[in-house]
Subunit: 242 residues, 2 copies
């Protein structure tokens, strides 16, 4: 196939446009991670990107459009890395467990990414975009195979989203709700082994599996399985702006 031969100028122009778009995305990403995407203004984004206000609209139709682009490009890119690593696991429960653990490990390794994920987790698009797509696919497969038993599917998904939100919130803002919860855990100590020896990602995965109807001993066992090897998470912006 023949493509039109670019003039000497066009590739540079294209490159510059791509860089401007990435600068806007990177600024929006940091601001939205920090404040939540509804509070950030387009003015703040263009100021942080050192781009004229009107230029924003050359690249994005609205604040929602740049947010959607971030969810698609930043979160879905990570989702694909996790998906490539876990796709070969036959059991949707084990796949979901590994996906949750890798996601929490990524949030811990890259706090800005973790805060952006946090800000997106209860948004209307959470279940249909970014990482949510992979989560919902695994839940549906698990239900179809009888691996998950949901007594109220909608409430179960809301509860799992809320649980992951609370765990990520703790990572982003300190121990939070867990401070008091630890008091309860201490009061009940010895009831069931010592959860303190397990990592937070494993405990979270086990908790989510229990919430999806996996019997508790199986949930603990599945969450403790070795994780499949995974490719390095490339930092989306560093790679592209370098």
């Amino acid at each position: 196939m023949k493509e039109p031969v670019p003039t000497a100028k066009r590739p540079r122009l294209e490159k510059r446009k791509q860089l401007t778009r990435l600068r806007l995305m990177k600024s929006a990403y940091a601001l939205m991670a920090d404040k939540g995407h509804t509070i950030v203004s387009i003015q703040e984004i263009t100021s942080a990107a050192d781009v004229g206000f009107g230029t924003f609209y050359t690249y994005f139709a609205s604040k929602e459009a740049i947010y959607d682009a971030l969810v698609e490009e930043v979160l879905e890119a990570s989702g694909k890395v996790v998906d490539a690593a876990t796709r070969r696991l036959d059991d949707p429960a084990e796949r979901l467990s590994a996906g949750i653990q890798y996601t929490l490990m990524q949030a811990d390794a890259d706090p800005l990414w973790g805060k952006f994920l946090l800000s997106s987790l209860l948004a209307p698009s959470a279940a249909t975009m970014g990482l949510g797509k992979f989560f919902m696919r695994d839940v549906q497969q698990g239900v179809a195979q009888g691996r998950f038993v949901l007594h109220d599917a909608e409430m179960s998904v809301v509860a799992v989203a809320g649980t992951l939100y609370a765990v990520l919130h703790r990572g982003a803002h300190g121990r939070g709700a867990t401070a008091g919860a630890q008091g309860l855990a201490d009061a009940l100590a010895g009831a069931e082994g010592d959860p303190a020896v397990q990592s937070l990602p494993r405990r979270t995965a086990a908790q989510v599996l229990r919430m999806l109807g996996v019997p508790p001993p199986q949930a603990t066992h599945l969450a403790a399985r070795p994780l499949p090897p995974i490719a390095a998470f490339a930092s989306f912006f560093d790679a592209d702006l370098a």
Copy 2:
């Protein structure tokens, strides 16, 4: 008992000081409900209350102090109304279910209250102050009586806090995570009755009971029981500033 006879001026001075304190509290309450308590500045609170900046420190040592006072006075006042209504229920599972339902109903009836509760739910003090105290007491009693079975007590409490957060978030910001969850619910429709005919507070209570190890049919039954009568929630500020 003899109390010192007040001078003619003192009662008025005391009254004025109480009103200034309440004005600061009311401004902080609205701002913190709206933005989250960590983001609000003392300057914003005093401006909204129409009080000099320095005056703040006559009443509160810090931003954390006024936040703690709000949690204690506003949320705990509501908690006591719920507690008075549910105290006579012998079963801690039924008591917790009724408490959750009344709390969600109150958040729906008084959106500012709901947003303030939301902003406090994942704070470090959540489990030891305000409504959290009553919740933790019921959970501990339920565990002691074998009514609740927690496989990881700390994670369970974090998961319940996150679940309530996600449900309240939906009330405060629109359907949120539930929009996609409804898609899953539709895909699985018919599996287990029709949750749409049940109210959100009942479904949330049933979900929380399941997360605390109550067998699902019992959780549904308990959450559907008639609620005990409750006294009207007085709006904390309207009553006092009238």
